[in-house]
């Protein structure tokens, strides 16, 4: 039987600065009608380039499709001229694409209805009024309430999630045979992401459309995909049904990926097993197996013979590996790695058990309002209450997780604590001193005791300074070293501490990889020997295999140096893994505080419950049995919070009294506090 779409031996390269980057190197895969196929890989694995090449959407030059076939309904799409009518009919017509950035994919000066109509008129040759009717129907279908009116709205009048819904409507508008979703939900919050994925699945199932999910998130894939292709360094390393890949992975890379991510249903003390090293530079890709340098199972054969081809390892299950370790070998190796790191951690840290000491930071009724001004004279008309009456405390040596969706104020809290903002009201007691109102001048000597690790490791390192100068800045500024020799020694020490070779210290930030840059950021944070470090989404921009390296590094450093972390993240699995206690925020307020165990196993606040339900678990068997109640609607803007409890408009438990008063954060026992009048 021929497939709906079949890609054979696709090779794509980019010529950059005189180097040839083999972005896609001999990729073959197929998609059948009505199935959901996932292409999983880290950044630079070639997963998106593969999809764009199918439609000849890569910029050429520098891109070039070297060879391969893309058979779609019997025609080879690569043979068509990029500007031909036939190919245009396929693009956006028979094959729809949803991009990652809903902000930039919609034209801001056209109403969404108009944009939908355009493609309907173009591809389906509908009349204006027919197109309008169909546009409204499509919007209704993707869950836009009040579609008759909203069709006349401009993109900026919709939230990010809504915009992505519109993108789905647009991609589905011409009844495509295949829908390609390129990281379509990555930029969205978990609850929105869950809503959209459910929507996508329902739509393709009901219309028998094939869906290609391109993603780096294995969790997303587990619940939705029928079949999975795992890509690494421009090639497919393993393919099979979703259950095969998760239950019986055969390629060491796939196994590595699965071990590197924390899961909601993990045992708490599981040590993440990162994949050591970095993906290869695709302009100098070796002819041998590309994963070999990072592979624990490599043999002499791997180093000599050309890259292994995909070979069947079961019905519909293929892997590209000479060794093909068995499940026992995989777990044996993992145990060995865990044991090794445990002993080394034990040696390094005499304090094995985390001991939390006295309160190091106390946040009391913190309020951070930003004025909304109007007119020429900047008259203040109202306040944006980004952080409204937040209280919690942090004890020495513990990790506090701060979670919530975008716009909930978690970063603002962190910045207020670090006094990057001047808090509107409240107290921040750090080392026994209220710093909330301290003038900048008196704050400076305190700076060395607190540090921040940024999300974007690239923009947080001054591009004009060498790594050594960046890491050494706190040393110089606070005069922590007496001599040049001591300074150099300390820099080397810091580099080694974060797992970087000191020889690299004369390099500039752009010469490091993403993971290495984040290590530099951590080294800088550690330079002044702070006891309190804020990690603001410190790992969310990193690839899965690198993420695990950094999480482990942070944990090791904590054990070794007795650090206290405020760990801000939107990834609840990671927060669960690393935190001792967790603070959940919603629209500027704390809704729940508890130790990690009570919070994850017995969440009390309906919002926490909803958040946890939305987190995907990378295991199709668990996902099958999991009842997911996904909250509907979007997070309202902080500017117009609902009266009373801010969650009341989305809460399944909400009654009239919820809209009448703001529920206070009440202690319900055992260090567990909840802000909900329905919970006692």
């Amino acid at each position: 039987m021929s497939h709906l779409l079949e890609v054979k031996n696709l090779k794509v390269q980019f010529k950059l600065d005189g180097r040839t980057v083999k972005a896609v190197d001999g990729v073959s895969f197929h998609v059948d009608a009505g199935e959901i196929v996932a292409i999983v890989g880290e950044s630079g694995s070639g997963k998106s380039v593969t999809q764009y090449s199918i439609l000849q959407l890569i910029p050429a030059p520098p891109g070039e499709i070297v060879e391969g076939e893309v058979l779609f309904e019997g025609t080879d799409l690569l043979k068509l001229d990029p500007r031909s009518q036939e190919l245009r009919d396929v693009r956006g017509g028979k094959i729809g694409i949803i991009f990652q950035e809903p902000m930039t994919s919609l034209n801001p000066v056209m109403t969404v209805g108009r944009q939908l109509e355009e493609s309907l008129i173009l591809h389906l040759k509908l009349s204006r009024s027919q197109a309008r009717e169909r546009a409204i129907e499509l919007l209704r279908r993707v869950g836009i309430p009040d579609a008759e009116h909203r069709v006349n709205y401009y993109p900026h009048q919709f939230s990010g999630g809504m915009r992505q819904r519109i993108m789905i409507a647009m991609a589905m508008s011409c009844e495509p045979k295949i829908l390609i979703a390129d990281e379509a939900t990555t930029a969205l919050d978990v609850t929105t992401q869950a809503q959209l994925l459910e929507l996508l699945r329902d739509i393709v199932r009901s219309t028998n459309t094939a869906l290609v999910l391109v993603t780096h998130n294995l969790g997303v894939v587990a619940r939705f995909a029928d079949r999975i292709y795992v890509m690494y360094a421009g090639g497919i390393v393993e393919s099979g049904t979703c259950k095969d890949i998760f239950a019986n992975p055969r390629h060491p890379y796939t196994v590595g990926l699965l071990r590197a991510i924390p899961r909601l249903d993990d045992p708490k003390d599981r040590k993440l097993v990162p994949i050591d090293g970095l993906p290869p530079d695709l302009s100098q890709k070796p002819t041998t197996c590309a994963f070999m340098p990072r592979c624990v199972y490599r043999t002499a054969r791997c180093a000599q013979e050309p890259a292994p081809p995909l070979t069947p390892v079961g019905p519909g299950h293929e892997a590209a590996c000479y060794v093909l370790p068995s499940a026992e070998e995989f777990s044996a190796a993992a145990n060995a790695a865990t044991a090794a790191s445990e002993t080394s951690a034990a040696l390094a840290a005499p304090v094995q058990q985390k001991q939390t000491g006295e309160t190091i930071l106390e946040v009391r009724n913190l309020k951070m309002y930003f004025p909304v001004t109007k007119g020429l004279l900047k008259r203040k008309v109202s306040d944006i209450k980004a952080v409204d009456d937040v209280s919690f405390d942090i004890r020495r040596g513990e990790t506090i997780g701060l979670v919530g969706e975008s716009g909930c104020g978690k970063t603002t809290v962190a910045r207020a604590i670090l006094r990057m903002y001047d808090p509107t009201d409240g107290q921040i007691v750090f080392r026994g001193q209220d710093i909330a109102k301290l003038p900048k001048k008196d704050l400076r000597p305190l700076r060395r005791h607190m540090a921040l690790v940024f999300q974007d490791s690239y923009s947080s390192l001054d591009p004009r300074l060498t790594a050594a100068n960046i890491v050494g800045e706190p040393l110089k500024v606070n005069r922590l070293v007496a001599s040049r020799a001591e300074y150099d020694r300390r820099i080397d020490e810091l580099f080694e501490l974060v797992g970087l070779r000191p020889e690299l210290k004369h390099r500039y930030p752009h010469e490091f990889s993403g993971g290495q840059r984040q290590r530099l950021g951590i080294a800088r944070a550690l330079a002044s020997n702070p006891d309190f470090i804020v990690c603001d989404e410190a790992i969310s921009a990193l690839d899965v295999s690198i993420q695990a390296q950094i999480i482990n590094l942070l944990e090791e450093l904590q054990a070794k140096l007795g650090l206290t972390y405020l760990f801000i993240a939107h990834d609840l699995s990671v927060v669960r893994h690393i935190s001792d206690r967790v603070v959940v925020m919603y629209l500027g307020r704390v809704v729940e505080i508890a130790d990690w165990k009570s919070l994850y196993e017995n969440p009390k606040h309906p919002y926490t419950q909803a958040l946890l339900a939305a987190v995907p678990i990378p295991d199709p068997f668990v996902e099958e049995q999991r009842e997911r109640i996904i909250i509907q609607g979007d997070i309202p803007s902080v500017m117009n919070k609902p009266p009373g409890c801010s969650f009341s408009n989305r809460c399944p438990l909400a009654t009239k009294e919820c809209t009448e008063q703001v529920p206070p954060l009440t202690h319900v026992g055992d260090g567990h506090s909840v802000a909900c009048i329905k919970v006692s």
Partner: protein, 298 residues
């Protein structure tokens, strides 16, 4: 502790990496354009310094029998209205013109960049105060501003340089402030603040170096503007007093004879062009050599 996470180096470090200074010079020299640019500037400087030894005649020596002479072996570029040797005047003019260009742009750039840096970084009242003054200055056409300042100061060449410098300040302040506003939001500036750096240190270490690229371009362009502005001012009676030689005034003096003796305007014009092109080439190279990202790819 054996760090299990120590990373393999993606690029070989077998080759010793040149230290920063060496690399800077290397990039600078690796480009032919830079070589040409620096060579022109070098020649100009030599001409300016050793003018009396190089120039065939004195720039003031009049030969009223041979006025407006066409190029000949005696006078390679011909003579002007008073029979003075055009070539010698250009060579001597290098002194005044280079000085006007460099000094006035140095004043404008130095003051403008400092003001823009303060306005952008410190914000608030300081920002409003500085920028409103700049707006006021900008409202007056630069040449008229320079004219009034220059005549108030006295009108010599020195006064022209100062007045031109002041007249050009607002352009630098504005551009710099815009740059600073975008750079100061960068995480690395915040990181500097968080590590306890003073405002001054942050401005000089993090903000200034990351703002300079467009300013270098502006500086190289403005050198030509300043040299020509000197001509305009000298036409109005400021700056180089008549027998003195400066390119700008020579271009001006040549205008009436454009049909018969085009070289009188053309030759000093070429000199101005050469200087501007040379500064441009060197400026571009300087910009790239200062940027660690470009250093690798040059």
């Amino acid at each position: 502790m054996e760090m299990q996470t120590t990373l393999e180096e993606p690029v070989s470090t077998a080759v010793a990496r040149p230290r920063r200074g060496r690399k800077f010079i290397q990039v600078f020299l690796d480009r032919k354009a830079i070589l040409v640019g620096s060579l022109i500037l070098l020649v100009m400087v030599v001409l300016a310094v050793f003018a009396p030894y190089i120039a065939p005649y004195s720039p003031y020596q009049q030969d009223l029998d041979h006025t407006l002479a066409p190029p000949s072996w005696q006078h390679l570029l011909g003579t002007d209205l008073f029979g003075r040797d055009e070539l010698s005047r250009i060579i001597f003019g290098t002194r005044a013109s280079l000085m006007v260009g460099v000094v006035s742009v140095a004043i404008a750039g130095g003051v403008g960049i400092a003001l823009g840096l303060m306005a952008g970084y410190l914000g608030g009242i300081i920002d409003s105060l500085i920028m409103r003054i700049m707006d006021a200055l900008m409202a007056i056409p630069p040449i008229i501003l320079a004219l009034s300042i220059g005549s108030a100061l006295g009108g010599g060449l020195k006064d022209v340089m100062i007045s031109l410098g002041i007249a050009l300040i607002p352009i630098y302040a504005r551009l710099m402030r815009g740059q600073v506003l975008s750079v100061r939001e960068a995480d690395y500036v915040i990181a500097g603040e968080l590590s306890g750096s003073s405002n001054l240190r942050n401005m000089l270490v993090h903000v200034l170096p990351n703002c300079v690229s467009p300013l270098i371009v502006l500086i190289t362009l403005n050198l030509g503007v300043a040299i020509l502005a000197e001509a305009a001012l000298s036409f109005l009676g400021l700056g180089m007093a008549p027998p003195g030689a400066a390119w700008g005034s020579m271009i001006n003096d040549g205008y009436p004879y454009m049909r018969t003796n085009p070289l009188l305007s053309f030759a000093p014009g070429v000199a101005v062009m050469l200087v501007v092109v040379a500064f441009n080439l060197v400026g571009d190279a300087l910009r790239d050599a200062l940027d660690p990202k470009l250093r690798g790819s040059v």
